[in-house]
């Protein structure tokens, strides 16, 4: 299994290619959307490059749990915001993400903004260790 440094280097390469950002912009704490300018469609590109670089498979919902954020029953989402149940469920699905700031105003559309480079490294580590 690659070291943490090797994983970070691979993640950095994937993000530089997918987002056309400079290497020095890809720090551990950088957020994909806010700092690196990723749009929703870029997530698919990032997944593709991570899969190729590390020979892993990242399933739909492992970055953004779509079945939770697209809920229309009122259990997980009400008025565009995640409910307490919704936040609990999202924590289970993407345990690596720090939702502290998001929880203060849990607008569904902002969920993707919490993802960081560090989260991508954690996801890859989990996949390689599984």
């Amino acid at each position: 299994m690659p070291s943490k440094d090797e994983i970070f280097a691979g993640v950095k390469d994937a993000l530089v290619e997918a987002l056309a950002v400079d290497e020095d912009e890809v720090t551990s704490e950088a957020t994909l959307e806010g700092d690196l300018g990723a749009e929703s469609i870029d997530l698919l590109d990032i997944v593709y490059r991570l899969e190729k670089a590390f020979d892993i498979k990242i399933e739909r919902g492992e970055l953004i749990p779509e079945e939770i954020v697209n809920d229309t029953t009122g259990k997980f989402v009400i008025d565009g915001k995640l409910t307490a149940d919704g936040i609990t469920e999202v924590r289970k699905r993407i345990p690596y993400a720090d939702l502290t700031a998001f929880e203060k105003n849990p607008l569904v559309q902002n969920l993707a903004t919490v993802l960081t480079v560090k989260d991508m490294c954690y996801l890859v580590e989990q996949k390689l260790g599984a």
Partner: protein, 169 residues
Amino acid sequence: MHWYWIDKFTVFESKNRAEAVKAVTLAEDHLHDHFPFAPMMPASLIIEGIAQTAGLLLYEAKGYKEKVVLAKIPKFTFHKTEVRAGDMLTYKAKLESVHDAGGVASVQVCRGEELLGEGELMFAHLGQAFAGQSLFADGDMLDMMRTFRVFDVGTNADGTKMPDPAFPA
């Protein structure tokens, strides 16, 4: 005018790769605006042809169930862009990744043995990318495949002939 930027498929291997040809002719009006007295195939329309080649390959790979749109061109390099009437282009696409949300293909455009351009194209499935909005009708993509004669050359992964889904074997 029909938005057809390839003439026919010559290879269509299910879930794997495809090749299509495009004959560039002076009968195409757009050439005469690009440029008057020096007609050349616009590079953007070459990309469109490659996207149709790769996009229909992805459409078949997902069982004809997902409408496919070109979402992003992560990288593409043209080595030459001077394509003129009389040229025969070959668009080559290989599926690199297929996901529920879309897919990625590596692609090339050649003129005979000459490599004119290469890169990667990323596609999204319309239902997820556009919240169910219908940009084109059910059946449109399958009609394109028939027009491009996919089922004349298409093969399944095991090498057997790919049937038109309207007329399964």
